[in-house]
């Protein structure tokens, strides 16, 4: 019977070979190649000069401008000293200018897109968590209001509850923040009375104010485990239509809360030739809420080290020395964790740092947040 068996074996071998080599079905992935029609920015107002601010109204949305964000960061500790950093931001982007509101009958027809980022740095756990949500500003899915100030994206919420009290709530996949923020210092207008110029064209600017010292209490949840925390938060609120100018590739932004009651805000805009843009600037906020504006030439930021992200392969500066001679300020910033990169719709590093240094000749400490954009990809677009 041998030949017969050989025949059968040969056939089976051929058959299994054919089967093994046959192209397997892969998961369907469809790349959306969507028509890119940049929304005519013409319909939107531009930040083209100082204008008066009116709080609490200006806490809320400014739909005349295309881009807006409410940015909260903070350094919080448990009673026994476990340190957490958090970032909770809701971005708004107008996709139709306000004069075209109400053209379409559907409640779902969107004029605004909202994006939320929630990041928590669990320093002792050595973990960094980042989540993103997107929703249209329609049908109640996401939105922003003033009086009272309220911004939400599904169940993620920023809401004013009292004259100087705000609650933040966001949760995703076992990570949550539920915080109450109290502002004893009041808003600080950045730049020229809140007009923050980012480029030579008067329109390359944003309106920008901060709440730099928000007493914070509440709960942080990591993988379902709750931690009662307290500390300081910082809020930035900016709105603009075309902030970045050509040639600018990204920025490094610093918010530092010094334990002597001062805060520093600094940003330097990097240009595509590697130089620092002259429109970089900053401010030093005194305990009484008054502030001193800092121009690009007033401060020096140096970074000794770098860190390469294993996720995006981007190389970030890591660890900074900042000196502001005119204010007799010399500080060192060290990140609590190196890996605080948000690899979401866009990629940026936003992380908790601690500081040490001297101010007016006295040794000081504190915490802060550093944001670095444009290292993984050019950053001149969306928000």
């Amino acid at each position: 019977m041998r030949p017969a068996i050989i025949f059968v074996v040969v056939i089976l071998l051929i058959a299994s070979g054919v089967y093994a080599l046959w192209p397997k079905q892969s998961d369907p992935v469809i790349a959306a190649q969507v028509l890119a029609t940049p929304v005519p920015a013409e319909g939107f107002a531009r930040a083209d000069g100082p204008r008066p601010f009116d709080f609490p109204t200006d806490f809320g949305p400014h739909f005349d401008f295309q881009t807006e964000w409410w940015y909260y960061t903070g350094n919080l500790d448990t009673a026994d000293g476990r340190h957490f950093g958090y970032e909770f931001t809701i971005f708004r982007r107008g996709i139709l200018p306000p004069d075209r509101a109400g053209e379409r009958p559907s409640d779902w027809a969107a004029q605004q897109i909202y994006m939320g980022h929630l990041a928590v740095s669990d320093v002792d756990g050595g973990e960094f968590y980042a989540h993103q949500r997107l929703a249209r500003g329609a049908s109640g899915l996401a939105g922003a209001e003033n009086a009272p100030y309220h911004v939400w994206l599904e169940d993620w919420t920023i809401k004013q509850t009292n004259v100087n009290k705000y609650i933040l709530f966001a949760t995703n996949e076992g990570i949550a923040i539920e915080l109450t923020l109290t502002d004893d210092k009041g808003p600080v207008l950045q730049g020229d009375g809140g007009y923050s110029q980012k480029g030579p064209d008067p329109g390359n600017a944003s309106y920008y104010y901060s709440q730099t010292r928000l007493q914070t209490e509440g709960m942080i949840t990591i993988d379902g485990e709750e931690f009662a925390v307290s500390g300081l938060s910082w809020k930035d609120h900016e709105y603009s239509t075309s902030a970045m100018a050509t040639g600018q590739v990204g920025w490094d932004w610093f918010s530092i809360q010094i334990d002597d009651g001062y805060e520093i805000m600094l940003y330097q805009i990097r240009r595509d030739d590697g130089s620092i843009d002259p429109f970089s600037s900053g401010a030093l906020i005194a305990p009484d809420g008054s502030s001193v504006q800092l121009a690009a030439q007033d401060f020096v930021i140096e970074s000794g080290d770098t860190w390469r992200s294993p996720h995006s392969n981007a190389e970030y500066p890591m660890g900074w020395t900042i000196s502001i001679p005119s204010q007799d300020l010399q500080i060192e910033l060290t990140p609590y964790l190196e890996d605080q990169e948000l690899n979401l719709a866009f990629i940026y590093w936003e992380g908790a740092v601690w500081m040490s240094g001297s101010h007016n000749g006295i040794g000081v400490g504190g915490n802060g947040y550093v944001e670095m954009t444009g290292y993984a990809q050019p950053f001149n677009g969306d928000f």
Partner: protein, 853 residues
């Protein structure tokens, strides 16, 4: 058996190439048999994959969905769920069937989505979550009528992003715009997107006029928390909404198309069964012819086992080549069959499937192994026969035929037993579909096995009948009887093929007659209106209220009856509800069982009961007096079933209820079809033309007269049996090859005898007559025996297979045509197969022929 000399294989090889015609016919038989099996497998696999793809494209990875019934869900429901902080992926959907004159007028599903919610569900629709610019989505969100189409559609119809197109929604043309092109990453998604276009949910709300509503919310619920999450979600839902498992949505359709495919697969197997007889026939003949040389080999020391292997190796060689040819042919046939199968599934089951050919490697392997296995099985007996050859002894054929006589009787007894047992099982036991088909095979093969013996018993009788036409009339039957070893398998094969042809034709004919009778009862009005492009049997697209008003006010309209056909949710999955306001509908139904007279039944329906169609009653195991539960706008509700009615419009089945009751319970005023009773003496055709001219300005409507509707229904009916006919034809072709091969073998063997007959004065004409008489007799006997077999097959198909496959029972309508046709095919095929052998017989001179051997 330590050594099998390879030189023996040469003996086999030489035999095969020195008998090229026989070898070729054997190869053809195997190849045809395998090709039918492969092509049906390819067609079935393609249809199944197409169906799966279209489901996958629409359902995505959702495990459950929130349904709000026919009128949809209020859009706030989604917002409420989203803002409730449930950590559950959810995506709102609002879909709509559309077509576009700019996209070939093919039916497309316009899937309204929220791109931000889509990723966990149908992530392949977008890749720009990472690094993508938000601006790219702006057009999709903000331009009214903006849709996305696949690259394939865009290339096929030459459409670019930014091009304006017209969209036909429910028979109205609306402006649309190609906002972008989706680039599928592989062939499968490319096919999935052949029938889907995408739009933002706001766009679909606006195009379809369903402002404020969504169709459903897809959910992904982890299995371990499923129950808890469903309870949590249902707490947040209005009473009209319900959480359902996604798989239920498609199960029914899958069951039905599965049954249809089993039917095709069974039919395709017949080709192989017929091929089995053919191979057996040819192998037997080759063995018989070589008894002398086998004897010589034995005398030279070759063992019986080696001879056995020799014959089997020949079969294997033929089997391999034939199977490979068959697989190749099968792919070619399969490509054609895919179109037919998909079309039928779309027409009959109204399942949206993606077209395209999937050729699963398993089809080849199955086909090849089937062909090889069949060949080897068919060769076993001849090989065993050959192995028994005693050394150097010449067995005359007469000796063989006499031993064969006993074999034929044994086969007949076995066959009869097989047929009886199979029939008994089919009648007595509730078998499933596959087992029932096995039963049919049992009956058919059983009958086939009795064929040779019955033929032998009949031949003396035939000889007496044909005696009046002279010596040839006596010779031919004797020859048929004497050469049973050659002819009986071919005859059995022909019988099987013809019997199946009779069975299938009788079934289709009876089915057709049943449908015509039924249409006569249910179609009592003059004009029927539905939306153009909607399914003929199941129109579910709403007619514009203005059109209905216009028809109501039309001159000479005596009555207008409205119908709402709709799918509603039930604990058993979606169920089609047919709600009408025809006060006499009770008289326009055929009730199979019911509580009281047709008037009483319809009164009960008006009071809130339902009647249920036969297929649905069979699927759900329900009857008159039972209850059926459905999810209404007011929650789950039980309905009394007053009767079961006959319905051939949908094998999915439906429940029929009183329209006002439906409207109250589901809050849905849509009308999807209507019928018009014209005043006596009205020219209906003129009325139809007038209505078409005027109403089409409101909405594209199909307006058909009673007669037109009937004939269109029958056209679709006939179309759905095209594939069945094609398969039957191939089976008959295989049988024809079998008869041809048998006749050739016979001719070859009888050359010497023919030579003697010619030497003693048989004329050329008499040679023709003798040969054709013989083959004609074979055909006639096969045909005759096929008549009762075919009748039995038809009965099983009608009573059992149809009920199991589609849920309906059919009445046998006996017609003479299938029987006459079958006889004609049997005799015609046999005569045709005799032509060439007869021609060859006349070509040889007597002396030449006698010198043979």
């Amino acid at each position: 058996m330590a050594s099998f000399s390879p030189s023996l294989l040469k003996v086999g090889w030489r035999y095969l190439i020195s008998h090229p015609l026989q070898t070729a016919l054997m190869l053809l038989g195997i190849a045809l048999g395998v090709s039918v099996a492969v092509s049906v497998d390819v067609a079935n696999a393609s249809a199944a994959r197409g169906f799966e793809l279209s489901i996958e494209a629409v359902t995505g990875r959702s495990t459950h969905y929130v349904s709000g019934g026919p009128s949809g869900l209020a859009e706030e429901t989604y917002t409420d769920l989203r803002r409730a902080g449930l950590e559950v992926p959810m995506a709102p959907i609002l879909s709509q069937m559309i077509s576009s004159p700019d996209l070939g007028d093919i039916p497309l599903q316009l899937l309204g989505i929220d791109p931000f919610a889509e990723e966990p569900f149908r992530s392949y629709l977008y890749t720009n979550t990472n690094g993508g610019s938000m601006e790219q989505m702006d057009a999709f969100f903000t331009i009214p009528g903006a849709i996305l189409i696949s690259t394939e559609l865009s290339e096929q119809y030459g459409l670019q992003p930014g091009d304006a197109i017209e969209l036909n929604l429910n028979g109205r043309l609306l402006p649309g715009l190609i906002a972008g092109v989706i680039e599928p990453q592989d062939d499968l998604s490319r096919r999935a997107l052949q029938t889907i276009v995408l739009a933002d949910i706001s766009t679909v709300q606006e195009l379809s006029g369903r402002l404020g509503f969504i169709e459903r919310i897809d959910l992904i619920l982890p299995t371990e928390q499923e129950a808890g999450l469903i309870a949590q979600i249902e707490d947040l839902l209005p009473a009209s909404a319900v959480v359902l498992a996604a798989e239920g949505r498609n199960r029914t359709v899958e069951d039905l198309t599965g049954a249809f495919q089993t039917n095709l697969a069974a039919l395709s197997m017949l080709g192989l069964v017929v091929g089995l007889f053919l191979i057996y026939n040819t192998m037997t003949f080759s063995v018989v012819q070589r008894r002398q040389s086998f004897g010589t080999l034995r005398a030279l020391g070759t063992t019986g086992r080696e001879i056995f292997i020799l014959v089997l190796s020949e079969a294997l060689l033929v089997g391999i080549i034939g199977s490979l040819l068959g697989v190749g042919l099968g792919i070619i046939f399969g490509r054609g069959a895919v179109e037919l199968v998909t079309q039928t599934i779309n027409d009959v089951f109204y399942a949206q499937t993606v077209r395209g050919v999937s050729i699963p490697p398993s089809s080849f392997i199955k086909g090849a192994l089937l062909g090889l296995g069949t060949t080897l099985v068919a060769a076993l007996i001849p090989a065993w026969e050959a192995a028994k050859s005693p050394p150097r002894s010449t067995l005359s054929r007469s000796q063989l035929e006499s031993t064969l006589g006993k074999l034929l009787r044994t086969a007949a007894i076995l066959g009869a037993a097989m047929a009886v047992v199979s029939a008994f099982l089919l009648i007595r036991i509730d078998l499933n579909l596959t087992a029932s088909f096995a039963g049919i095979f049992g009956v058919v093969i059983g009958f086939a096995l009795t064929t040779p013996w019955i033929t032998q018993q009949l031949m003396p009788l035939v000889a007496r009948l044909l005696a009046p036409i002279g010596p040839l009339g006596r010779m031919a039957p004797r020859e048929v009887s004497n050469s049973a070893s050659r002819t009986s398998p071919a005859m059995a094969a022909l019988m099987v093929a013809v019997a199946v042809t009779i069975g299938a034709s009788l079934m289709v004919g009876s089915f057709r007659a049943s449908v015509i009778d039924w249409l006569g009862v249910i179609l009592r009005n003059d004009i029927y209106v539905s939306v153009a492009g909607s399914n003929l049997a199941e129109p579910m697209v709403a007619i514009a209220p203005e059109a209905i008003e216009r028809i109501n006010a039309w001159p000479n309209v005596e009555a207008v009856h409205l119908l709402r056909l709709v799918q509603v949710e039930s604990p058993q999955g979606p169920i089609t509800v047919s709600a009408n306001d025809n006060p006499n509908d009770g008289d326009e139904q055929v009730f199979l069982e019911g509580e009281g007279t047709s008037q009483q039944i319809w009164e009960a329906v008006k009071a809130g009961a339902m009647i249920i169609s036969e297929p649905l009653a069979n699927h759900l195991g329900l009857g008159a007096g039972d209850e059926i539960r459905l999810f209404t706008q007011q929650g789950e509700k039980a309905f009394h079933i007053a009767a079961v009615f006959r319905d051939y419009s949908s094998s999915r089945g439906n429940v029929t209820m009183w329209l006002p009751n439906y409207q109250e319970l589901w809050g849905d005023e849509a009308v999807t079809a209507l019928s018009v009773k014209a005043a006596a003496g009205t020219d209906v055709d003129a009325m139809v033309d007038d209505m078409r001219a005027e109403l089409n300005q409101i909405q594209f409507l199909e307006i058909r007269s009673n007669l037109a509707l009937r004939s269109e229904t029958l056209v679709i009916f006939d179309q759905s049996f095209l594939i069945t006919n094609a398969l039957q034809l191939i089976t008959t072709a295989v049988a024809f090859v079998g008869v041809l091969s048998a006749m050739l073998s016979l001719q070859l063997e009888k050359q010497r005898q023919m030579g003697i007959l010619k030497a003693i004065g048989l004329s050329q004409r008499q040679v023709w007559a003798l040969t054709l008489l013989e083959t004609g007799l074979i055909g006639a006997i096969a045909g005759l025996l096929a008549l009762p077999t075919g009748y039995a097959v038809a009965q099983i198909l009608l009573r059992l297979i149809n009920r199991l496959s589609f849920g309906w029972t059919l009445q046998m309508h006996l017609q003479p045509e299938p029987f006459i046709q079958a006889m004609a095919i049997a005799i015609g095929a046999a005569l045709l197969a005799g032509l060439y052998p007869a021609y060859r017989a006349t070509q040889r001179s007597a002396a030449d022929a006698m010198r043979f051997d």
